[in-house]
Symmetry: C2
Subunit: 386 residues, 2 copies
């Protein structure tokens, strides 16, 4: 007496179903000769239903293609079987390139549980809170994924106060004595990646390695910088504060910080960037100064955006698997909503290195590099850059 739409795609023709007749729990019950309360309990795993009845109900439900309306369930259960994410669209860098893959991962994972994903956007931090508030008020979702966590994140305080489930993409509370309790998160260990980047460059015999970090309001910025310092320590290289810059989020900012580092009396022969975007910003600067990337100056990025592949030379970088991240976050969040303790829902992944041609052994010492740069500056002194 009819299959669900998904099946119909295969069966091509519906069996004998009356038009537009969605199968309701009532129909299912009538067909089975049971009451709808029994059917409901059978489908929802109540213990007071015999195993044989449960099987009967389940097979018949499958046969008729019965699917409960999540919003009809929600009115009683308070669960809409949906998770949400609000993007901050005003961020200069955005997570543009990752977004598609990230959403795909999250949606696929959610679909696996028969959940859906609703998204929304905001234009500022304050706006984000308002959007969250609206979604919570209307109960459009049972929980939230919070991307780009800050060291001190207003969204966390807000949702915790309202007692709404959430999971972080990233960690939070850097530098706090007590780690944030009762919080679930998924993150990629940027600190590990950056440490490896430093060690890789040290292995190339670089001794002056610079670092360009991102906005310190984000928690990951601190962790990646720590990775840089750790790497230097392990490699036995001295830490020189002059070689560390922060706050580069865009290509332009990456270019500016690169210029600053390369303008030093003793410039670095290699630079690790906290983001690919900032690293790509260095390309124009290097070209303007007549430096060959991968020889005169080595560069390693982080993120794994597609442009790395097309840059000349290709940018060596650490790839984060956004698809997997989205999938894990959705899965962990749903498990949390279903009752698991947030503290047990924490995972740390690793970024994978993609070796390209932007790094290698230094062709010049720091002093020689400085000299070359000085000459270039005199020479062009009107060169366009950006």
């Amino acid at each position: 007496m009819g299959a669900n739409l998904t099946n119909r795609l295969d069966v091509s023709v519906a069996e004998n179903q009356q038009i537009s007749g969605r199968v309701k729990i009532h129909d299912l019950a009538a067909r089975l000769g049971l009451s709808k309360s029994t059917v409901s309990r059978a489908l929802n795993g109540y213990p007071d239903i015999s195993e044989t009845t449960r099987k009967r109900v389940e097979t018949m439900a499958r046969k008729l293609g019965y699917r409960p309306l999540s919003h009809a369930q929600a009115i009683r259960t308070g669960r809409v079987r949906a998770i949400a994410m609000v993007l901050n669209a005003d961020e200069p860098d955005g997570h543009n390139p990752f977004l598609q893959e990230f959403l795909a991962g999250a949606c696929e994972a959610a679909s696996g549980f028969d959940w859906t994903m609703t998204i929304s956007t905001a234009r500022s931090e304050q706006d984000t809170l308002k959007v969250l508030a609206r979604l919570v008020e209307e109960h459009k979702a049972d929980g939230f994924i919070l991307p780009r966590t800050a060291v001190n994140d207003a969204r966390i305080r807000f949702l915790r106060h309202l007692d709404v489930p959430f999971i972080l993409y990233g960690r939070t509370g850097y530098g706090c004595a007590t780690p944030p309790a009762n919080t679930s998160w998924f993150d990629i260990s940027g600190e590990t990646a950056i440490r490896k980047a430093v060690l890789r460059l040290a292995g190339h015999n670089h001794t002056r390695i610079g670092y360009v970090g991102s906005d310190l309001k984000f928690n990951y910025s601190h962790l990646r910088r720590d990775g840089y310092v750790e790497g230097l320590g392990i490699a036995g290289l001295p830490f020189d504060p002059e070689l560390v810059r922060n706050g580069a989020r865009t290509r332009e900012e990456g270019a500016a910080e690169s210029r600053a580092l390369l303008g030093l009396d003793r410039p670095p022969t290699a630079i690790v960037f906290a983001t690919d975007l900032a690293a790509l910003g260095c390309y124009g600067v290097a070209t303007d100064l007549g430096l060959k990337i991968g020889q005169d100056i080595s560069i390693i990025g982080y993120d794994g955006i597609p442009e790395c592949h097309y840059a000349r030379p290709g940018l060596t970088t650490f790839n984060v698997d956004s698809h997997a991240a989205g999938a894990r976050l959705a899965t962990l969040l749903i498990r949390q909503i279903r009752g698991e303790a947030p503290d047990t829902l924490r995972e740390l992944g690793e970024a994978s290195l993609t070796e390209r041609a932007s790094d290698g052994p230094p062709s010049l010492t720091s002093e020689e590099l400085a000299e070359k740069i000085t000459k270039s500056n005199e020479h062009i002194s009107g060169g366009t850059n950006q």
Copy 2:
């Protein structure tokens, strides 16, 4: 007796609301000394409610911060006040760069009506239909935005068959005698943009202008190619089928088609690309052949992806405003769901030209260019390209 969460952000402290007490329609009615049916009808614009009562109800609702649960309404009305979009994540090009802006536009517009947006992803055309089916079955949305419309689009047939509202981002049915009836859409006139591109190049005195189109399964591919032909006609230039290539969706494919065009006996001195990605693919080819873009070979793209700005030289292109597109699509779709006739909900926007350095007057004739390319090919013959 309490304000809603959104207000609380401003008021900082809730007035005197009991914890976790969402205001329900019952509370509102009790507070007003009315029945909840009256309150409901007042809020929903029924004619049998006096104007004074309506005002009273509305101000009290605002004061208490009452917001109906959309899923509670849905159970009776059948409307969840949500629109959905399913992305095809397997497309080689995706609409990656536009996605964030597009979603922002759509979400903002939907929010303005107090609607929300749910999204999902699929991995193939067939999968897309299954995902759509699931969303329709569970009625997770009242209507759909269909991105990247094909000439012959299975999604359209599917949703039309189910009588579910949808709107196209793009047109459909290219070449059909009868335009598709009862269909709403929003599109950017790619044909106009490409025509302008051709005229611009003709104005630079190019006489052999090539065209690299996209996959002809998409409707826009045909329209843009038409724009190319129209442009040639207006400029009084002959149409040479040799100069037209199709099917380039990625950088790599764009590179391959560029190579094919530049390898002709009488190569074009300018090429119009249907997409920026394909145009950027030409950059590596030009470099390999020792051609200066903007002089030896002129290039114009379409889309307005960020990379255009960072390519060297910058890529002249036609920008589509994805944010505005998302906003219009959401708005038109909601209006359609609310009852307006689809045929009246059609809009065509224009892309805006951003002039950069990738096009200009030809430095060489087609013959001279051919000679130069031949030499380059002999010379390098082992050059890397991609």
